[in-house]
């Protein structure tokens, strides 16, 4: 600054009428600074470098990570090379997690809404106030509706979800709704109908693998995404059926662009070939299964020629694939996959896959489909009080819910007869069904739900048909969201509680089941940066406030309350979480130390336990205790017991395309698109459209187009490619945010939830995300 300017600026300052100012003095009473040494000192660390083992939380996989912490700051997240589940790898998201704590977008302190919902007017409140607010609202709702289930609790999976359920069970609502019906509930139901469990695939040792609709190269699942390529050079053959030429398709020995919704026909025809050519495993079938003759009879009509007409894959290819599958058995895998929220008949599709594995004896053996093992942890012996003022979960108690509000769910001509009209046939108690649950809430059927607590889930983006989700939120008198970031859903909340990131806090141990089971946990790598809390602390805080409100405990046995205070509050929530974790692993000598050092531990040297379901006397969790081709429970429920081919109930009209859902390797859910390191890989999504179709409409790559379903319309750039069937369209989720949640992806690309139809699979309660038909026009 020039001398001259200095003089001017000084004169300006001295020109202030300073009398009052000089006479006044601010004392440090409001100060945020203290003299060094006057409080517990947090010395500036210098030159320190630590490697801290933990587990990732950027998606559901929980891969092993080792944080490199320099001077108290997380510099890099490395893979844990010893980790049995993640095989020593770490994906783009896992690496990008290192930016998470240092993002300015984080929620930093509890926020209370002061304006209208969604208006974006908030005030900061203390945690004490927040806990009081939540407890008081829960109490008010209970008082008003005389039904604890009037508050719905939504959550996504994660280690801290355990403590979320402490809160849920302490309040006593039965209306919980989790992620599986947006993801894999039909898969679990279909495979379980045959084997009683939902198994894993031993891709490490398989010789022949068929993947139908699973994009393991991009939708990463550990260890599958690792194994299916890392060990491929050993001669593994990979067959991929997908309407899109995915990265997995690019890895395949043969890629079949299967007509959507007809994968089942392909597999039924394979069974036709294998059974009629006597290529199935007769010993296995005789020893372990039930209903083979009915199956044999059923598949007779499903000839390869018939299937060719359905799935548009040449009959000869089907025959070839069937023979190869049988030849490599039992080291053949028909891949169960993960997300199966595709079609209305998905449970039957998955049942079909499971039966194929069973007839060839590719079960519970090296290189086949193998039931998950898990390592037992010591649970805390706790019993939550039994509350009188609680009604059964609404998607169970509702009447005519499906018939009246989800007509598409009961239109399937094949399965129509026995389909439930009130609620889903085989609903998982805790998980609920997002689509039917939301319908029930919207219709107050059978009772009003007026409170909504949401832990790290983002239904506004994740559940098909955003408009309905917003409508559902409007019915609520109280909305509380616990999250790390201001998600689309948090934006509509009354109170937002900031959750500590997975890198700053302790998470309890979890047994991760699989062929290679491990116990994993999380420990902090860095100090907490802001005024956040973990679900463990939040549950404790809210429950303490709840205990101060008598009306919340007037419908239980007083003895229950005493036990509750002792067993749950004093013994668990009031103690450090480390005590909880130590208790969990107390049956595993050295387990705690191993967790601290490696972030995980395993037992039996981490070797797979093949064959325990093949031992004499083993009872499968089916009605007959055997592997069921003919499902007795389905029969009792009035459903078709065998996976008969289900013709689609609705077909695209002229000019309509089927909309597909898929993932990339750098974003799985809707929470990572704003991470700068992932954003720079993909800055917006684009609509995949086949070259010929685009040609007809004069659409070129980069042109703006409008994709429209009867739910909504989105504007997006086109990506003209040969990599998709001409009758399908696709864009990846995570962009075009409804509310501008994330600065980088706001208004770029298109949102999935905004156009997806809310179709329901009424057997498992799963959403059907591939049952939406759209049109496309040049913008």
């Amino acid at each position: 600054m020039a001398i001259h300017d200095k003089k001017i600026s000084r004169r300006k300052f001295l020109g202030l009428s300073t009398g009052a100012l000089a006479g006044m003095m601010f004392s440090p009473g409001l100060s945020t600074l203290v003299r060094a040494g006057s409080g517990p000192v947090d010395p500036v660390p210098a030159g320190s470098r630590q490697f801290i083992a933990s587990n990732c939380a950027m998606c559901v996989n929980k891969c092993g990570i080792i944080g490199e912490v320099v001077d108290g700051k997380l510099r890099k997240i490395n893979p844990n090379k010893k980790h049995l589940k993640s095989r020593g790898m770490l994906c783009a998201k896992g690496n990008a997690g290192a930016a998470l704590p240092y993002s300015s977008d984080r929620l930093k302190t509890p926020l209370l809404r002061t304006g209208e919902r969604g208006e974006g007017k908030w005030k900061e409140i203390s945690w004490d106030e927040a806990f009081k607010y939540v407890a008081r609202n829960l109490a008010d709702l209970k008082k008003e509706y005389k039904n604890r289930s009037t508050v719905a609790f939504a959550s996504t999976e994660g280690f801290q979800e355990e403590f979320y359920y402490y809160l849920v069970n302490s309040f006593g609502s039965l209306n919980t709704v989790r992620h599986p019906t947006l993801c894999l509930s039909s898969n679990i139901q279909g495979w379980s109908s045959v084997f009683g469990v939902y198994p894993d695939a031993d891709l490490k040792n398989a010789e022949f693998v068929i993947m139908l609709g699973s994009d393991r190269a991009q939708a990463l699942i550990t260890p599958d995404s690792v194994d299916f390529q890392r060990y491929k050079p050993k001669g593994q053959k990979l067959i991929v059926l997908d309407p899109r030429f995915t990265e997995t398709g690019a890895k395949a020995d043969r890629w079949y662009p299967v007509k959507p919704r007809t994968d089942q026909a392909f597999v039924l025809a394979m069974m036709h070939v294998i059974i009629n050519e006597n290529r199935y495993d007769k010993t296995f079938v005789e020893t372990y299964t039930h209903g083979f003759e009915q199956l044999r009879e059923m598949v007779q009509e499903y000839t390869p020629q018939w299937a060719e007409g359905k799935c548009e894959i040449p009959a000869a290819e089907i025959v070839k694939t069937a023979r190869e599958f049988a030849d490599h058995a039992p080291r053949s895998v028909i891949y169960p996959g993960r997300r199966s929220s595709f079609y209305t008949h998905e449970v039957y599709v998955r049942q079909t896959y499971a039966i194929l594995a069973a007839i060839c004896g590719c079960w519970d053996t090296k290189g086949g489909v193998v039931p998950k093992s898990s390592i037992d942890l010591d649970a805390h012996n706790i019993v939550f009080p039994f509350f009188m003022e609680t009604r059964e979960r609404m998607d169970k108690e509702a009447t005519n819910l499906l018939k009246d509000v989800v007509p598409s769910a009961v239109q399937c001509p094949m399965i129509g007869t026995g389909l439930p009209t009130d609620s889903c046939a085989f609903l998982s108690e805790k998980d609920g069904s997002w689509i039917s649950f939301r319908e029930a809430v919207l219709n107050d059927n059978p009772y009003p739900v007026r409170g909504f607590v949401c832990f790290k889930q983002n239904p506004v983006q994740a559940v098909p048909n955003t408009a309905k989700t917003l409508e559902m939120l409007k019915k609520m008198e109280f909305i509380c969201v616990i999250d790390q970031q201001m998600s689309d859903t948090a934006w509509y909340a009354d109170i937002v509680l900031p959750h500590t990131t997975y890198l700053e806090g302790w998470d309890p141990a979890h047994s991760l089941s699989g062929i290679w089971p491990v116990v994993a946990f999380r420990q902090p790598m860095i100090e907490k940066m802001f005024n956040t809390k973990t679900m463990f602390e939040i549950a404790g805080g809210v429950i303490h406030e709840m205990l101060k409100i008598d009306s919340l405990w007037d419908d239980i046995d007083p003895a229950d309350l005493t036990t509750f205070k002792k067993d749950i509050v004093e013994d668990v929530l009031d103690k450090p979480i480390q005590d909880f974790i130590r208790h969990q692993v107390k049956s595993h000598p050295g387990g705690w130390e191993q967790l601290l050092k490696e972030g995980f531990f395993t037992t039996e040297g981490g070797r797979p336990r093949y064959g325990y379901t093949r031992k004499p006397g083993f009872r499968f969790k089916t009605k007959t205790g055997r592997i069921e081709f003919f499902n007795e429970r389905y029969k009792s429920a009035g459903l078709f017991p065998l996976p008969k081919y289900c013709e689609p109930e609705v077909l695209p009209e002229k000019g309509e395309y089927r909309f597909l859902v898929g993932r990339t390797a750098w974003n799985t859910h809707t929470s990572t698109q704003n991470n700068p390191y992932l954003w720079e890989i993909q800055k917006e999504n684009a609509l995949w459209i086949h070259t010929d179709e685009a040609g007809k409409m004069g659409i070129r790559s980069g042109d703006e187009v409008i994709v429209k379903s009867h739910i909504g319309a989105q504007r997006i750039k086109a990506y003209v490619t040969e990599k998709i069937r001409p009758d399908c369209l696709f864009y990846v989720n995570g962009w075009g945010r409804h509310s501008p949640w994330m600065s980088r992806v706001y208004k770029t690309g298109a949102s999935e939830a905004e156009i997806l139809d809310d179709v329901l699979d009424s057997i498992s309660g799963s959403a059907c995300m591939h049952e939406t038909f759209v049109t496309v026009t040049k913008a």
């Binding site: 490395n78 790898m89 770490l90 783009a92 390529q229 990265e247 390797a665 390191y677 720079e680």
Partner: protein
């Protein structure tokens, strides 16, 4: 002690195009977010064939650590140099940012780092090698596309791969003699 000859051998057929390596590299080497600032990349090779007969390969790549490195030849101040192990490095303090190395590199492996005030590129994570750790891109890869090791060690995986499988090097016609190999 025998001189080490570091190399990376790529089995690109295993590449999932998952970009884990690119993100790992950015954090490990503190490379800023930016369209021009990257040390490694994963190229989606052009799609071949017509629907439904399609083929596509993915090719991760980075500085090839050439034995006959054009970038080293043209560097006026010896800022770019080769270590005895064959790693091509940049001494940031000596770089004058003339960018001749960027013009000379046939692999477009170099870029200007504002942070270092110099041209930077893949170092094979030399700082990790000193600690006996693999380069970050090698370590993080789900399918282990990259294998890192010492070509002078007959027991190494890289040696085994190169004597047992056919391979090629990028732009071999330039006679840069890259130290990075691609398996066929």
């Amino acid at each position: 002690m025998r001189q080490k000859r570091y190399t990376i051998v790529f089995d690109t057929q295993k590449c999932l195009n998952c970009k884990a390596c690119t993100v790992a590299c950015k954090f490990e080497n503190e490379v800023p977010v930016g369209d021009d600032t990257y040390r490694i990349w994963v190229t989606e090779q052009p799609l071949q064939g017509r629907f439904p007969h399609l083929h596509q390969a993915f090719q991760p790549s980075q500085c090839q650590h050439c034995e006959n490195a054009p970038c080293e030849h043209v560097c006026p101040t010896k800022a770019t140099y080769r270590t005895p192990e064959g790693v091509v490095l940049v001494d940031y303090k000596k770089c004058i940012l003339c960018k001749a190395c960027m013009a000379a590199c046939p692999y477009d492996a170099r870029f200007v780092s504002e942070h270092h005030g110099a041209v930077e590129k893949c170092t094979l994570c030399a700082h990790r090698l000193e600690e006996g750790r693999e380069p970050a891109c090698v370590e993080t890869c789900p399918t282990r596309v990259r294998e890192f090791g010492d070509l002078n060690d007959p027991d190494s995986e890289v040696y085994r791969l190169l004597i047992s499988r056919s391979h090629y090097r990028l732009k071999s016609e330039k006679n840069t003699r890259p130290r990075l190999y691609y398996l066929i």
